[in-house]
Amino acid sequence: MLDVSKPVRLKVEGLNAYYGESHVLHGMNIEVGRGELVTLLGHNGAGKTSTLRAIMGLIRRNGSIRFDGDELARMPANRIARRGIGYVPEERGIFASLDTTENLLLPPVVKDGGMSIAEIHTLFPNLKERARSPGTKLSGGEQQMLAMARILRTGADFLLLDEVTEGLAPVIIEQIGVVIRLLKERGFTILLVEQNFPFAATVADRHYVVESGRVVDMVPNTALSNPDEVSRLHSYLGI
């Protein structure tokens, strides 16, 4: 079902992950093609965030994570980032002891072709106005924009975005949608965790359904014109 014209950038096979002794991912399988936007949908606690953390090397994991031909499963997080993967964590991770500009400039450049500060300020005008505010004095929406903006500066062209619309006002969600579509046009490859299915359906190519640490189904976004597919997806998500 994967579009064959798009070479696979990320291929996750049999991925297990653990918090201490607790085993939370049980053989995840995911593929993301170049330029694709793929979502992970599923209930709270299904394992979506843990999947991104495991890919990023932030929790103990085993299995295979092939990225652009390299095996990431035994690399430390800093080397994974250097491959060109940008991570926006669920909790946003804005640093309190850094102001907005310092937060923006923090992640080192990992590849050529990152956005300039001027470009970032055009995309996210609020960040320019709040340049000297401490990171944690920003509103939730501004923190989310900052968390995305700082990754776009680094040249990373594969993004792991975790619930970027969570708890935000509809106008802000709309603004983030605009940015995500723009990134897609520019050729970014994106793995997006979402609880907000209506939002996900406006930006995604395919959806993986995650339950209890496993992928239980995959639905192409185009299939959503078929009412049967929609109700199948809704039954997973309990909508």
Partner: protein
């Protein structure tokens, strides 16, 4: 001239001693604060590393004929390397455990170092001459200011201010501050955080050794010089706020001064005044004067 029945000579003399002690408190608590911030370890070896700095200085001169000015560079580098090795081979293994293990381990290292030097050199302490360029002093009219003491104060202010600038105002410093808050995320941005931790520990150790070099001509070079000063320095860090850079610097100088003034006005309390201040600060502001409440 007399102030409150105390001769101005005595008063300014004690203020100067207070400033000198404060300079050492500030340099030592600064390194402790940086290490505690990033490694979450109360570095009990800090006093021993200061003593090591002074001993390396003494040995460079007496065994190799290498002078004070070169020791100012070589001793911090040696002790910094020692710190890097300690971090790589031992501290790195215990970050996952409770903080108390870091404290115990570094305390053990401090005892080993102190014991080793005591075995070799005894406890009486050895003199180290003031470098020729800094002998003598200035008569300021109201007091006599030895050149070496003026140098220590100026040098420590410069060291503290540069460290503050490095941490609070530069890009490297923003890595350090960010990693202090959330090391995993900083590593997920592509920064080699384990390496940064090693270098930070080495830097803190080097800083304490630098204080040790400067201390050699003032205090006796002795195996117990570290354990004598380190308890006061811990109090300074607690007063300034664990992990606060500016807090460590400001309270280091301020408490040296308070100690000096207490010696003039109420000498009986001079050795306890810092702990009294610590108790009051902990009661009123448990996170320390400059600390952030988590």
């Amino acid at each position: 001239m007399e102030i409150l029945g105390i001769s101005s000579q005595a008063l300014f003399g004690q203020v100067l001693i207070g400033f000198i002690n404060g300079a050492f408190y500030a340099m030592l608590s600064l390194g402790l604060a940086v290490i505690f911030g990033l490694l979450n370890i109360v570095n009990f070896a800090h006093g021993a590393q200061y003593m090591l700095g002074a001993f390396v200085t003494w040995m460079l001169l007496n065994y190799l004929g290498i002078n004070y000015w070169l020791a100012l560079v070589l001793a911090p580098v040696c002790v910094g390397l020692f710190g890097a090795m300690l971090e790589r081979t031992m501290l790195q293994r215990i970050y996952k455990l409770d903080h108390i293990y870091g404290l115990l381990l570094t305390f053990g290292v401090a005892l080993l170092l102190e014991g080793g030097f005591r075995q070799q050199f005894g406890v009486s302490g050895m003199p180290y001459a003031i470098p020729r360029e800094l002998q003598g002093g200035q008569n300021l009219g109201f007091m006599f200011l030895p050149n070496y003491r003026a140098w220590v104060i100026v040098a420590s202010v410069v060291v503290c201010a540069s460290t503050w600038f490095l941490i609070e105002k530069t890009r490297l410093g923003s890595y350090l501050r960010a990693a202090t808050e959330n090391p995993k995320l900083v590593q997920a941005f592509g920064v080699n955080v384990p390496m940064m931790i090693t270098l930070t520990y080495a830097f803190g150790a080097g800083l304490s050794a630098l204080a040790g070099v400067m201390a050699a001509p003032i205090y006796q070079v002795s195996p117990v010089m570290g354990s004598n000063i380190i308890i006061v320095v811990f109090a300074v860090v607690v007063i300034g706020g664990m992990g606060s850079i500016s807090g460590a610097i400001v309270s280091g100088f301020a408490l040296g001064l308070i100690e000096g003034l207490t010696k003039v006005f109420y000498p009986e309390a001079s050795s306890t005044v810092i702990f009294v201040v610590m108790a009051i600060v902990l009661l009123v502001k448990p996170a320390g004067l400059f600390g952030r409440t988590a």
